[in-house]
């Protein structure tokens, strides 16, 4: 039991630092994948982990912690990319490379440009990134985002259909 005033505070600090050492690398890698910039990823990792530590009990559940960490980090980093694009910053506006084995039928190139992504709502963006950039199975994306597999398929279909239209218009 972590009880007591000063002792409990010390315990909590040690626990938080230990969890950060254990799961910080996963957050950092996720941020690197989505932001592609070391400094921005280090900053984002810090922000994401403060959010995660807000629910420390969940962070201690080894069975379910990784998908949750992935969701929080993905949402945070995609949000950073959206904001950077709105502000016209180029640093975080690089296209995301599609996974080699990803199902990306309908996209002309094996990359996902921010100008395409930013036309969709946050959850659809997360679905598209999960399937196309991360090469996840639909079930895996559904688990990470806490939605049904059917919703993943529906959002992905809509994304691919509309992204194709948008890119065709841009080409012509």
């Amino acid at each position: 039991m972590s009880y007591g005033s000063e002792e409990a505070a010390l315990d909590e600090r040690e626990k938080a630092a230990r969890l950060y050492a254990t799961y910080g690398p996963a957050v950092y890698r996720r941020c690197l994948r989505l932001l592609g910039d070391r400094e921005a990823s280090g900053d984002a990792t810090q922000e994401v982990f403060v959010k995660l530590l807000g629910d420390i009990g969940r962070l201690e559940d080894r069975e379910t912690v990784l998908p949750w960490i992935y969701r929080v980090a993905t949402n945070h980093c995609l949000n950073l990319r959206r904001n950077a694009r709105r502000r016209g910053e180029e640093a975080l506006d690089e296209a995301l490379e599609a996974a080699p084995h990803a199902h990306a039928a309908g996209l002309p190139e094996r990359q996902l440009a921010q100008k395409v992504l930013s036309r969709f709502d946050a959850q659809t963006q997360a679905v598209a990134v999960g399937v196309i950039v991360d090469g996840m199975e639909h079930e895996e994306v559904a688990e990470v985002l806490g939605i049904s597999r059917r919703t993943v398929s529906r959002k992905l279909d809509r994304f691919l259909r509309n992204a194709r239209k948008f890119l065709d218009r841009s080409d012509s």
Binding site: M1, S5, A8, A21, Y28, F49, G54, Y70, H101, M136
Partner: protein
Amino acid sequence: MSARAESRCPSDLRLEAHLLDAERSGLGPHLEGCPGCRARLEEMRRQGEEFRRFVYPATVEAVVERSRPRPWWKAWPVLVPVPALAAAAAVFLLVGPERPPGDYVGTKGGVALAVYAATPAGARLLADGAEVPANAALRFQVRPARPCRLWLVAVDAAGKVSRLYPAGGDGGAELTGPGALPGGAVLDGRAGPERIYAVCTPAPIPFSEVERAARAAAGGGEAAVRSAGALPGLPADASQETLLLEKRP
């Protein structure tokens, strides 16, 4: 029989699971036969090392500091309940042989103890037997009728006696007036009953004496925790009271 390798390359998320626990990931056979995934895994390891060498040392203090709960007086601006609700909920537990002040609820005198649990909506005042999340954060307010030495302890169904306040020293905290106790307590996450005791004595008594009494009174399983009464064997002039909490998963 050897495990069959999956033909499809795993996602980064599954590789993360592998980095945390290679045996349980089940990816060994695939990785053995897939140079691309081995290269990706190696890259992830390098990035992890980068985090450990550069990011972690530079940010851990800030992360830990920012994740700490705000001081109760900032996070819980309204700690004092509406008097009528307080009376209805029998919020203050009054302890000891002296008569309680007029504004206290209860029939015994001595020290009044209020226990609060943090909730998303703010601090919730707990009544005896209240259900709380098993990992709830608690705060305590104490109001002695006279200066005394205070021990605040908790005992669970396993007979473990936890020292809530004071964290250090061995004579109890000197209490001269009403106020919130510094810091707080975080429950251990295990479901079951937990009984909190406030003990106030005119002269210092060692923690071991309170610990022994708490274990004797409530340390014999869940039923004993729930039915326990006053701590036995304490000085005759000691004031004491108890509050039962039911920790829920």
